[in-house]
Subunit: 430 residues, 2 copies
Amino acid sequence: MKHIINPPISEWASLCKRPILPNEYLEEKVINIINKVQMDGDKALKEFALAFDKVSLIDLQVSAVEIDIATNEVTAELKEAISIAAHNIRTFHLGQKENELIVETIPGVTCWRKSVAIANVGLYIPGGSAPLFSTILMLAIPAQIAGCKRISLCTPTDKNGNIHASILYTASFLGITEIYKVGGAQAIAALAYGTQSIAKVDKIFGPGNQYVTKSKELVQKNGIAIDLPAGPSEVLVIADKNADASFIASDLLSQAEHGADSQVVFLTDDQTLVEKVKLNLLKQLKKIPRADIAEKALANSFSIAFNSLQECLDFSNLYAPEHLILAIKESEKYVDKIENAGSVFLGNYSCESAGDYASGTNHTLPTNGYARSYSGVSLDSFIKKITFQKITEDGLKNIGKTIEVMAEAEQLMAHKNAVTIRLKKLSDEQ
Amino acid sequence: MKHIINPPISEWASLCKRPILPNEYLEEKVINIINKVQMDGDKALKEFALAFDKVSLIDLQVSAVEIDIATNEVTAELKEAISIAAHNIRTFHLGQKENELIVETIPGVTCWRKSVAIANVGLYIPGGSAPLFSTILMLAIPAQIAGCKRISLCTPTDKNGNIHASILYTASFLGITEIYKVGGAQAIAALAYGTQSIAKVDKIFGPGNQYVTKSKELVQKNGIAIDLPAGPSEVLVIADKNADASFIASDLLSQAEHGADSQVVFLTDDQTLVEKVKLNLLKQLKKIPRADIAEKALANSFSIAFNSLQECLDFSNLYAPEHLILAIKESEKYVDKIENAGSVFLGNYSCESAGDYASGTNHTLPTNGYARSYSGVSLDSFIKKITFQKITEDGLKNIGKTIEVMAEAEQLMAHKNAVTIRLKKLSDEQ
């Protein structure tokens, strides 16, 4: 972890650039996969499973028997934890429901928006280096609150053709049974365009590796909606002298263990904290199984000592972190200074893992600086808001002239005529 | 306009496919334009203005003098109309502000979302075949309600290097003075990546031709946020025997005059209405200046007579129209049957032009079937919702175990440790 002291503002923008893992011909490779799925459907999916995962699949869809077996394998302790996390996530996302507000903009002209669920959604759950069953909770619970009619889930198998029990259990706990043994770029293509077994969806959600991400990017270009543009996960911690160096180190490591391309950033106005955090990182690194991954991520990461907390906050707003931890005294006072971030954790006991799993907030968040313009996944991600308007005869009399004048000025006379012809009928009737 | 009677459901999907105007090498052309703007900045913009529009520009930014001249040119009548429309649009979009809801998901764990404006937004306003000043109202008013810090506007000039007075006046009426004489794919590239004169923005809004649309699609692939994927404008009218054939014809034409690639669809359960609408179309076509454009659009369009209103609604939900007019008796009764549409107009006097200009709803809407998964532009389009959470010491005691169990099951031990280390400190302190 590189340490920088008071960098001049002119250097901030380049510090905010995220590390990129090169992958030559990634786009060409993914385009080929998508084309093959569009052409050959299920056959292509089975061929890719054999080629990439060395698995020979007969059925793509998970059977009820497989779900039963998984349910028996998951411990009571984990079942209890999943149930508590689901409760909190449901509670928070239920609060995102909006009431319809009917607005009469001018007498006789009423307008409102109605939230309607996106009918068919597809969830991608990675199963590679860690079985991310928590992501099922984060995506399926708001989808169910929204009222999506169909929730399809794709996830890769292990070398034996099995899906991790915790993934199958979590899906089935939520009542999701449409689960397919398909991973990678080909899963995204199947959800986007449909195959014999997998019906196409209207929107695709979920994280993944570079192939999955590129595949989502390419199908979006063809008009398929996706949750968010994606990049490696990241955390930025701002701490003052009241923070606990061992807590900070644990938060940095919990992000660093995600992947070699993750980035962690530590900002402080207290120079002495930097050395303490460094020592704690070394100490804690020894104890975690994914230390090799975390070390690679730390090599791409940095800490900065600034003169003031204000500079820390300014830098953070420019960086636009996915996760932002404010380990500072009276952290609530700084809420209004946060301009760009995915999810913010206030104080010494609001650790990022809490939001990753169980506090109730969503963990699908904008990375790579996208927090400047994107929100994380929420109930909003699973609905469309359709506008409605009802104009009475009097209402049209009230705004008719305005429409006619504007349409004429835009040289759109048929637009004008749609009003004129109605106003004429109303005046003829009088 | 092709007329179809009771098509079998098996044919519905192909009827819902939108006409596509072929444009060979469009993507390659636009990639070249974007690359040149990224490389040469302002110089490229001026070269494109000369090559495409035969205009030699000295300054890209519109001057205060030009705005003053435009303000004098616009009639008092149009100024009044713009003011009324702005009032209605502001009233409707102000109603979209959300209150922060603080949710305690479990004792000691509080979570909420805060709406924060996207700092820098870029608006593209076409100036080609019609000066669409109304789009400035639709985009800039919600941007101002959201609190965006900077609103930049790009619009092409005419052959004399001038921007239409109504565009300059509307922008200046709203207090927008950062206006650039740049059109086409190159304007999108300038807003996305910045040039010497034009600072880059965080999100790009606005309609345009195929080049503009393709350019937005390509910069989005590189992580620049855009409002909506775009396609030609469209309307679907559902009418029963209580509808007025002349009104329906006027609504169909007001959509058809937008462009040769626009599509209009007319559905009814009353066969006799079809002929009446056809006669009214012929009659009204003769009177509109853009009849040649409207005729081309009508050639790509169709009407269907179904046996029931329910089938009309089912077809409409599959088509997912940008604009949907329900010219049926007691139209409010059908609101809950609408699953996919951008904006819905209820009854005989709610004409689409009203929503295009002045009723208050936004006219930037999902086309091309995107209404299945996208909402139109609203206040939401100009904000991010940042999640916050505050976990107290007791809160962490309440959910700590849950997090530890889940993190361990996902094999992310550093995530677990961030909790363990805190719980240990709390128990040591007791």
